[in-house]
Amino acid sequence: MLAANLVGCKPNEWPPLTNPPVAQSPSIWKKSLEKSGLTSTPHFYKGNIIFGHPAKETNNYLVYCLNAETGDSIWETRIITPFEFDPFAGQMSLLYEDKLILSTSKRMFILNVGNGEILWNYTDPNNYGGVCIIDNYIYIADGVLRETSTMYRFDINTGTKEELFTISHGINEPGKDFTPFLMMPVKWMHQNGDEILVLQNRSYGYDKIGPDGMNGYSKMDLMAYNLSADSLLWYRYEVDNFSSGARPAIDGNKVYFYGDRHAYCINPLNGETKWKYFIGNGPEDDFNTANILIVNVKLIVKPDNDAMHAVNKETGERIWLNENTASMPGLLTVRNDTIWFSSGGVLAIDANTGKTLIDQYKASEGYWIFPVAFHPTNGHIYTSDATSFYCLDPKYMK
């Protein structure tokens, strides 16, 4: 052997390769769920991770609270409804202080996240479009017989319901002869101290021919309602056509909406357009599934196609464009300048450069279509594949 080493071996007689080093698995822990289904948006709360998922029994829904480090169960709450309850859409599960709001377009449950107790619940006689929280109130807006849309709010502590205002279908109404659908608002404080709700009336003409030549006319009306004075501050008719139903974002004296192939920056004082950003004329340059995200000086613009744009939130100028993310995303979330979402795999995009950091990572062959939550300090992320819930370490996600 020594002699062989001294004279050297031929290149094709190398010593055998040792086993390659084993890659560190990104999976920290996973919890099997009772059945395949749509998981609600997860939330991190005081060292625990909270989310909901359908239980195996019909019309049963389970809300889980797990230790974020270990995946051990802290509490579990079962919600039983006469019909299916499945708050799967990204913006239908909200965490506010120590309360979790889970909602469908028909009913909502408010839970104490400390112990899982159901504090109160609500079933709407009609159906409503979305849900959001401003201060200590939960807002919803219903639609009745394609004639009216009314904004309500509930005291989050007591469940007391309060009617705010109604927009009706009618030629003399601000939205004219269109069926109104009030979307979720953001709150802006007027310089005189009045509380203003800025929102979209995503109105629809069922019997009208739209600009695309097809029957059904979709238009984006914008409005501001003065809650303090209980009156309409301004109403802008048909700012654009087919728009996103996502809740707008607010930053100081600017409110951002997604219209038809354009992102808008609106002055909440008078509804004036400060700038608009054009995303393109492609067949999927729309915003059906997107939500609006502000990261530092950037407004993130994510249409339904593979592109993601970052624009200067002050001027509307493009900062970067990544044309190869994934289409039809769920809820976008951000942590430490990284934008996270799932669309057939978990994606992470550097908010500063637009570079794809993690490209559709999947820890299993399941369905990676659910929003991502974060641990505030160790960087772990939490999401689902429809059959299990995962804690993953992004360091090892390739």
Partner: protein, 523 residues
């Protein structure tokens, strides 16, 4: 081999054949520049022109119910080729139980040797009409203008055929319109390329079958040289394997593909008179198209869904990916490779002689062919479904990562320069990291990136049966589409992705998904 085992083999084979093409699907491994393709499909650019066709309705889409009227919908579910009432049964019940709607679950025999005209006129239309009338009996004042249909695969073409006939009722056979909107899952709106390759299906299925047949089903080695299989099939002699293969391809495979090769499949060829007619009809239906995109190996994934557990056998929205068949085929390939090694060893010398030698040579050839087929099966499947066209190549720049280093093998040994090229940075990095563990000494390690221009086969994404662009090519669909990520043709009716899009469909207007026309409030 005793007769029982033989019968078991034949039963397995027939079961496999029956299922594997009771709906068309195939396929497997990675794209490679040197692969050879046994399937000849003539590339027809017109097919792709058709797919981009976009026609707006002359008189706009149908006006849905307005305001202040009773909207009690009837939603009709229409299955595809090879399906039955079971295909949509759970989804229909789920819809009725949770949303303000009545449902009609259509059932027709898609295997009948018949035509779209027949199945639409005699079977589907009548059932939808009856379903709608039942709802109207219960709600006489209801507005029907919001009734719509949800269809899978061929069911979408049947629904469009009905739409065309209702508008253009030349012979008066068709009654009055029963739905005003259509939602399709995996429907080949621009035609099904797989319908062009009918004649290759038997050969392909035959190759899969013979690859398994001469392997080790049920863990028992099938010794074909001494078994009665030759007598069973009326064969004898040293070329028994070739004859068995012939018998599988020409006799057994057509038994299974026959039920699939109906006139409706011919009618679904791109640019067929039927497809041209419905694509040239200026439809006024409200539309949404859902399309599945499956990952490779599409072939085995689709066959898994057919041979193991059908989509409808899973709980509601529970049809997840099944890799069982892929595992089975990988095992078969490994077993063939092992046998090839031993056969080559056996044949290295002068013995055996005569017929025994011929049989071993024949077996060796067969097993080598099986390995080659299994290595290229997914590529061939892609040809059959139109995901590859032989004449459709594209030039691509790809990164090449060259790992370079010097190494020596002993204290007094000299330094050798080494290099190895990779087309994946991860693989290059992994190799680089391994060098210190594999040589006595090394130095000057580097990874250099260069670009290479290559002619590669253009790949068209698909759900394992239908191309993505055909699934989406519904005139007027515009942006009203959604991708079912990772779903194959069968899963896409009953997967978590299907659940997501169905719920979004019913959410309709307020949330902004698809078209408010389809909004169906929760109960």
């Amino acid at each position: 081999m005793n007769t029982q085992i033989l019968k078991k083999h034949i039963k397995f084979l027939l079961t496999f054949l029956t299922f594997s093409l009771s709906f068309t699907s195939f396929g497997q491994p990675p794209l490679c520049d040197t692969c050879h393709y046994d399937v000849e499909v003539k590339y027809n650019p017109k097919i792709h022109e058709t797919i981009t066709k976009f026609k707006k309705a002359d008189t706009a889409e149908y006006t849905p119910c307005g305001t202040g009227v009773l909207i009690k919908k009837n939603i009709s579910f229409i299955h595809g080729l090879g399906g039955s009432a079971n295909s949509w049964a759970k989804q229909a019940v789920w819809t009725e139980q949770n949303y303000q709607s009545a449902v009609t679950n259509v059932n027709y025999d898609a295997k009948l040797q018949t035509s779209f005209h027949y199945i639409c006129d005699e079977l589907i239309e009548e059932q939808i009409e009856d379903g709608s009338d039942d709802v109207t009996d219960d709600y006489p004042n209801r507005c029907k203008l919001n009734d719509f249909a949800i269809a899978h695969s061929q069911g979408g073409i049947a629904a469009r055929y009905l739409d065309w006939q209702w508008d253009d009722n030349q012979n008066g056979n068709f009654g009055t319109r029963e739905f005003y909107g259509l939602v399709t899952f995996g429907t080949p709106h621009a035609g099904a390329d797989i319908a062009i390759t009918k004649t290759q299906h038997n050969a392909f299925i035959g190759q899969i079958a013979s690859s398994i047949f001469l392997e080790k089903p049920y863990g028992i080695v099938y010794d074909f040289t001494s078994s009665p299989v030759g007598a069973f099939l009326g064969l004898s002699g040293a070329d028994v394997i070739d004859k068995i293969d012939d018998a599988i391809v020409n006799t057994l495979a057509p038994l299974s593909t026959g039920s699939l090769h109906t006139p409706t499949l011919d009618e679904m060829k791109p640019n067929s008179p039927t497809m041209d007619s419905i694509n040239n009809h200026h439809s006024r239906l409200r539309k949404v198209a859902f399309y599945g995109i499956e990952e490779e190996p599409e072939c085995w994934r689709v066959i898994s869904g057919i041979t193991d557990t059908a989509s409808e056998d899973y709980p509601i929205w529970g049809a997840t990916r099944d890799d069982h068949f892929q595992g089975k085929m990988e095992k078969a390939r490994a077993a063939h490779e092992g046998e090839v090694f031993y056969l080559q060893w056996d044949l290295r010398g002068l013995f055996p002689l005569g017929n025994k030698r011929k049989e071993k040579e024949s077996e060796l050839k067969h097993r080598k062919d099986a390995v080659s087929f299994l290595n290229n099966a997914n590529s061939q499947w892609r040809y059959l479904i139109g995901a590859y066209h032989k004449d459709s190549m594209e030039t691509k720049s790809i990164n090449k990562y060259t790992v370079k280093w010097d190494e020596k093998y002993g204290w007094l040994g000299k330094w050798y320069s080494q290099e190895r090229a990779f087309y994946s940075y991860d693989e290059a990095q992994s190799h680089y990291n391994m060098i210190p563990h594999s040589v006595y000494k090394w130095r000057n390690g580097s990874i250099n990136t260069t670009q290479e221009t290559r002619q590669v086969q253009k790949y068209f994404p698909n759900d394992g049966v239908v191309l993505e662009r055909s699934q989406r090519a519904y005139p007027g669909v515009g942006g009203r589409v959604d991708k079912l990520e990772g779903d194959n043709h069968f899963q896409e009716r009953n997967s978590p992705e299907a659940e997501r899009v169905m719920k979004r469909l019913y959410l309709g207007g307020p949330f902004g998904y698809y078209d408010p026309f389809f909004a169906t409030p929760e109960l």
